[in-house]
């Protein structure tokens, strides 16, 4: 299935057939959407980085700079009421579902306007109203949870699909195995998306797996196909994601997609990322998904004006969101004692 999808993809960009390509199976609207999604994530994360240096973002943050195409490609392939489950490196996946920048920045800054009113922090972004069902910070935990949401969708006959993002490193933890197996036997509408950025924190993934592709080479253990995709190409990601989501929605069961990509920065704010060979970083920076995609849009005949219009609009929205978040108060202290229980409180005794 995935392979078929890939063969439909444009082989090479070229002005001459630009318009035809722009209006291929993906189309201009989706492409501009994906461009904007990537840009929003990139600019917001760079902003978060600045705010961290100003000590306005506390704790730690895990940026996906360089990896935005995966979230964008998948996000563009999802329906509004589908579910997203992601990790501590989840700004991108949450934002592409439509979570507001103010809420995201506010959460990173521990402000009342944060998506979680400051209670969760950057590793736990959630926006249920946008289908962003949570960011999970214990490796692997959210895979079975995403399976549960898919089970629920199947049981309710709602037609929803659960899309679950995780890293290459997560493929070595037990929960991965249990989740894939259960999804497969119950033919659940879930799509697992492994963002293989070559590193689990500071350790090269190749040092700790006995196969080449951490996710794709395990697919057959669960009766699934091997699906590999260029994670720096939103169109390619979109196509495999669209097909996998369609298959899931049609009741034909789960898929696992491995998207190869790279984070330009360290694992988290504490990490300069120096364990990586400089040439490797350079190579991947040359394949930065955003300039590449910008160029493709122009090649396909989108005007410079349209593109820079999006860029300006995103920057403007981000500036506004930044000011809003900065102006938001810190959460009231009593919030520390609310919402343990559905009654809104935290009492454990009478």
């Amino acid at each position: 299935m995935a392979k078929k999808a890939k063969s439909k993809a444009p082989a090479k960009s070229g002005k001459g057939r630009g318009a035809a390509r722009l209006n291929d199976d993906i189309g201009e609207e989706k492409r501009l959407e994906m461009f904007q999604m990537q840009l929003e994530v990139r600019l917001l994360e760079n902003r978060a980085n600045d705010l961290f240096l100003q000590n306005l973002v506390k704790g730690t943050i895990h940026l996906s700079v360089g990896m935005e195409a995966v979230a964008a490609g998948c996000g563009a392939a999802m329906r509004k009421n589908d579910y997203t489950f992601c990790t501590y490196r989840g700004h991108a996946h949450t934002m592409v579902r439509g979570a507001p920048m103010t809420g995201v920045l506010g959460e990173l800054m521990g402000r009342e306007c944060g998506l979680l009113n400051g209670k969760g922090g950057s590793m736990h972004l959630t926006s249920v109203e946008h289908g962003a069902m949570g960011s999970y910070a214990i490796i692997g935990a959210h895979l079975p949870i995403a399976v549960g949401a898919a089970w629920s969708a199947q049981y309710r006959g709602s037609g929803q699909v659960s899309v679950c993002f995780f890293g290459d490193g997560a493929t070595n933890i037990g929960a991965f195995h249990e989740a894939l197996n259960m999804a497969a036997i119950w033919k659940l509408p879930v799509v697992f998306v492994c963002e293989n950025n070559l590193y689990m924190e500071y350790t090269p993934i190749a040092d700790v797996i006995p196969v080449e592709h951490p996710a794709a080479d395990r697919a057959s253990a669960y009766g699934m196909d091997q699906i590999l995709v260029d994670g720096n190409d939103p169109d390619a990601v979109f196509r495999v994601a669209r097909d996998a989501i369609e298959m899931a929605r049609a009741g034909d069961g789960p898929s696992i997609i491995e998207a190869k990509t790279y984070r330009h920065l360290g694992h988290s704010r504490a990490d300069p990322g120096t364990y990586r060979p400089p040439e490797e970083i350079e190579e991947w920076k040359k394949r930065d998904p955003i300039p590449m995609y910008r160029k493709r849009l122009l090649d396909y005949g989108v005007t410079e004006k349209t593109v820079s219009g999006i860029e300006d609009a995103v920057m403007k929205a981000l500036d506004e969101a930044t000011e809003e978040a900065k102006a938001s108060p810190v959460p009231a202290l009593e919030l520390g004692h609310t919402e343990v229980w559905a009654d809104g409180g935290s009492a454990w005794r009478n």
Partner: protein, 325 residues
């Protein structure tokens, strides 16, 4: 009233709630076709079909994870973890995910789910199938914790747990599965967080839970008959929420308190209750609070050793005899 066993009351409660609400679904290992290894869920598959009553692989993380994901998206799942000892293999999902998600998202996520499990010893299954682990759950903010001692309470409290909007860890004491008792017929729903005075008495309060309740009651009868000591026995029933009102009132009245726990010594619910009582009833206490527990060892398998480890009627009697003079 009908006479049911403790094990039959489990299926009765689940069936009652599944009939009422089609969002209630149930999953676990060998629970459907086989009706559970303790035969607690016999008949559910037949009545509710394989989409609502599902056998799973041996994948406890997937079981409770699936329950969580389903609860977040509109269902009211019940997950069975066959033995409470197996909580250890899915402890992350229970403690770090289920217990914390509502709080971390400041209420965006609702988690109306129940995890049922067979808890405790007395059946010679050895150290990995006999633990009394209600404290593991009590210790974790965000979990409600219930441990009934009678068939009626199983039905009423399990129904209440299923209707509860929060995650409830429901401990069924495996040594009680065969016990019979009167259970209200028709719809029966109890309330979480209420301790029950199961025997009145003025001299000493015994706080007990699950399998320790019948033992405390038996001990109380002996103490009344042989020593003229009037023990009032409280079945704590729910560790979270904890009915400190009832407990503190009774303790203040009797001025003496003994806790009886099946779990090993350190950091048990008895310690928590002891610390609450000693802080809040300090001036009402006529003797030190005494905790009777299983010693702080993994449980041995051989019957004599196991019987010696878990608090027995005679240990309760002797301890109270010694302390209450």
């Amino acid at each position: 009233m009908a006479e049911l066993t403790y094990r039959e009351a489990v299926a009765a409660a689940i069936a009652q709630e599944m009939r009422r609400d089609e969002n209630v679904v149930f999953l676990g290992e060998d629970v459907a076709d086989a009706g559970g290894v303790f035969k607690t869920t016999v008949g559910l598959l037949d009545e509710f079909g394989p989409l609502r009553v599902r056998d799973t692989p041996i994948s406890e993380q997937a079981i409770v994870g699936a329950a969580m994901g389903a609860a977040m998206t509109g269902l009211r799942p019940i997950a069975e973890i066959m033995f409470s000892d197996f909580f250890a293999v899915c402890w992350d999902i229970i403690t770090n995910q289920i217990a914390k998600s509502r709080y971390m998202t400041n209420g965006q996520v609702a988690l109306p789910l129940v995890i049922r499990t067979a808890n405790g010893g007395g059946v010679r299954f050895g150290a990995q199938h006999s633990q009394s682990l209600e404290n593991w759950a009590m210790m974790v903010p965000g979990l409600k914790v219930v441990a009934p001692s009678t068939p009626a309470d199983i039905k009423g409290l399990l129904a209440a747990a299923i209707r509860d909007p929060d995650p409830v860890i429901f401990f069924e004491q495996k040594s009680l599965y065969g016990n019979k008792g009167e259970v209200p017929e028709g719809e029966h729903v109890d309330e979480l967080g209420i301790a029950k005075i199961v025997r009145p008495g003025d001299d000493v309060t015994i706080l007990a839970l699950a399998a320790m309740v019948p033992r405390a009651l038996e001990a109380a009868e002996i103490l009344a008959a042989e020593d003229g000591i009037g023990a009032n026995v409280i079945d704590v029933r729910s560790l979270v929420p904890l009915d400190t009102k009832t407990i503190l009132a009774e303790v203040s009245r009797t001025g003496r308190v003994v806790t009886v726990e099946e779990n090993p010594r350190l950091c048990g619910w008895g310690a928590e209750l002891s610390s609450i009582i000693s802080e809040e009833c300090f001036y009402d206490l006529d003797m030190p609070i005494v905790r009777i527990t299983t010693p702080h060892v993994p449980l041995p398998a051989a019957d004599d050793l196991e019987d010696h480890a878990i608090p027995s009627v005679s240990r309760i009697v002797e301890t109270i005899r010694r302390e209450v003079d």
